[in-house]
Symmetry: C2
Subunit: 190 residues, 2 copies
Amino acid sequence: MSPRRGLDLKVILETAAEIANTEGVEAITLAALAKKLHIKPPSLYNHIDGLSGLQSKLAVFGLEQLLKELTKASVGRAGDEAVQSLAEAYVSFARKQPGLYQLTLKAPKEEDTDYHAVANELVELLFGIFRAYHLNDEAAIHAVRGIRSILHGYTTLEQKGGFGLSIDLDVSLRFMIDTFLAGIKSANRK
Amino acid sequence: MSPRRGLDLKVILETAAEIANTEGVEAITLAALAKKLHIKPPSLYNHIDGLSGLQSKLAVFGLEQLLKELTKASVGRAGDEAVQSLAEAYVSFARKQPGLYQLTLKAPKEEDTDYHAVANELVELLFGIFRAYHLNDEAAIHAVRGIRSILHGYTTLEQKGGFGLSIDLDVSLRFMIDTFLAGIKSANRK
DNA sequence: TATAATAACTAATGTTATTAGTTTATTCAA
DNA sequence: TTGAATAAACTAATAACATTAGTTATTATA
């Protein structure tokens, strides 16, 4: 145990995520974070490497939580059902934690190995699910890229209010996943 | 003509877009912009309503350019060919103007009628293209939402380096559009 | 109990956005 | 041709913020 136990990194990240979720990503400042933690801004430098270091850590923190939710949603399921369940969990996470979700794509630097480790796990999860469709290696890569694009694109547009109000959003998501999977299966038959 | 002609708003927006494209969206500051324009930061307030006002104007500015490119790419084409051509133009725009593309989704406020006017035109363009698939009204909405999600999601992930390097990106985009359209057609036959 | 390590602190600096008030240039009417 | 009106530039000042340097306080362990 270290001398002079202070703040826990986890508490810092949770507090920052709370700010992001309630006030928006741009509201994350060291000043606001320090105030919430009842310390002075410079003290944060004992735990994080400035604002950009905090953002990097938040990206990993968020990605880990997302991965956990997606894993939970897909275990015990296969094929279309697994994909739909994962998609549902994906948007559910983004709705509950909009700020943290946005942070999961914030400035992933080349050298941030922590980030890429989790990101790879997420991609591997998707590959596993798509194994049920018996695609060749390259097709599987395209399929995984496709589903990631749909999920992220849909999520962002929903968050930004990019879709009109009238027609049910969940139905749209289900439709686009269904359609994409139908396309994969129809190509498979050729 | 106004007394004391100064800077043109178009020049301001072009200069800001250049900063965004070359140094990143977060590099857009009134200080940096003023320096590039050889004026002092407060003078910018004669033309724009602060930093957030600038961002709003840039969102419209970028969306207009994107719409123009997409329109150009889809005239004289129909069906799958029109969609693929539009998709190509979309990512091409985002690659040439990464910063400006990101700005097209920056903080679209409810009351920003300029923004929503252009955004609606873009959606109408897509509806027009999907008319060739003879979908009912609701299915058309889902389809347009789907293609928008794919395009934005793909673009963002490509920009952030979210896809690994090995497999060709353009092929992936073509694959996901193809697959989505195949899904639409297979559902149509039922 | 003393030392070393660590986390908090204060003080200071530089960057930025923004507001208020002033000066300057230019169009247009007298 | 001149002068008033207008609008765009300016200077000066303030507040919020990130960040660094250096100091103080606390606590595990030797």
